[in-house]
Symmetry: C2
Subunit: 267 residues, 2 copies
């Protein structure tokens, strides 16, 4: 099993589906592939983005790969449930794809590079299977971009634990800021790298509560055991941190900021 | 003399002018006041924003106040040099303005609240001199929003020193995230609070170099003495941090992110 900070629980699957719907407009509304084009989604996981991609490019042929057979089963069930017909799934390691050179017109990869020790190798392998002139679309978060108000020592610490637990695996949750150099090093022709940010305050209580309760806290909880096991925090501080976050999400003076980065580059 | 983290040097005046021109489009392009309206700029400093305001609202009557007579002289000289006729200056403490209730149609305040121990009191005083239905426009940065790549321990430390030196004065360079609660607590009717961000990478080497060399580093240098005096850092680490920042600004893989917040609210 690939080591992955968020694990593979049912709760985490739900978090990934909630998150993708909440963020769909902001992250994916400008991604659409032409009829007949061959698109690779590298690291589809439980299919949270796959379903969005497939709906937004209904005439493209999408091949979605992931290393986890269990995740692929969930992704496949979701796609079937949604009545989507233009996606096929394949188990594979994205560092060693079972496709020839230039097999795809476009490649899409979202929330994946952050979970690799050598993200550059992933990009180089994606480039191999991409045709000349085809695009790669990369979306990653940057946990170092996140801040909120009011903050407490424990809520900051809990967030820091997620970053550190991921770093302990050799992975990088601050990778958003590195998309430009990574794409440059893999010799892509960069069209753009841009922040896609979310700012919410109590003027928008719905998004505020959704962002914190459906994305942020479940994501943190997925790393809870590791953080405790690594001794990054104790139980009491963890509970206080999570409870502080829940409270700030309901606070009439609360605010929250986070940015992802989206990049499009040509081979 | 009001205690102020950046001081009142010539170099700092130049930094403020450079900064305002670089950021004009992003921060000020949607601020314009109608002909004949009475506008207060609270805390105009050396006039860096005043000149922009006056040009963008040429038919409005702008009153610009600041507590520093020296800054007002510089502001006044700048306005004269630019041939601008719709600004008058007055020395005053913005916690105790020499104007009656409802004297102004609109109030503008930019990069000022971060330098007050009780920013709420400033907003309440501004509200007093604003007419019912008039707007207040508030712009503030948030130094906690800033990140860059590649980062080094010393470059991070130097930036942290600026935040801490300002905090040592009781001031708050993380105030951007607090505009919503502050305006709410002072009972303004908030129209919006939104991030105004800058992301630069080596794909835009000009803005990258300008942002770091003309804004970030001069701003840091203005707090250098205090940081050293407070023992927040030693000379060698400071020099290394600044030199690392200069190098990352020229790096083909460098990236930089910062966000300000702009708010408009009604009385």
């Amino acid at each position: 099993m690939h080591r992955y900070v968020h694990g593979y629980s049912e709760r985490e699957t739900e978090r990934l589906y909630d998150q993708s719907l909440i963020l769909e407009e902001m992250l994916h509304s400008d991604t659409a592939y032409p009829a007949g084009s061959m698109v690779l989604e590298a690291g589809c996981g439980v299919g949270a983005q796959t379903v969005i991609l497939a709906r937004r490019s209904p005439q493209a042929e999408i091949t979605a790969v992931d290393i986890s057979l269990d995740s692929l089963r969930k992704a496949s069930a979701l796609i079937e449930r949604e009545g989507i017909a233009n996606v096929s799934f394949q188990q594979s390691d994205i560092l060693n794809l079972p496709f020839g050179e230039e097999s795809f017109d476009h490649v899409f990869i979202c929330f994946v590079l952050e979970h690799f020790v050598w993200p550059l190798e992933v990009l180089i392998e994606l480039k191999r299977v991409l045709r000349e002139g085809g695009t790669v679309t990369v979306i990653e978060g940057d946990h170092g971009s996140c801040f909120w108000y009011p903050e407490t020592a424990e809520s900051l610490r809990v967030w820091q634990c997620l970053i550190e637990a991921q770093a302990h695996l050799g992975h990088n949750s601050l990778i958003g800021r590195q998309l430009y150099p990574l794409l440059r090093q893999s010799r892509f022709n960069i069209r753009y790298v841009l922040p896609r940010w979310i700012y919410v305050d109590a003027g928008n209580p719905g998004p505020m509560s959704d962002g914190v309760n459906k994305i942020m806290i479940p994501m943190l909880e997925s790393a809870r055991e590791q953080a405790l096991k690594l001794g990054l925090i104790d139980e009491a501080a963890w509970r206080k941190g999570i409870s502080d976050l829940r409270r700030f999400a309901e606070s009439p003076g609360g605010t929250f900021f986070y940015t992802w980065f989206k990049a499009v580059a040509l081979k």
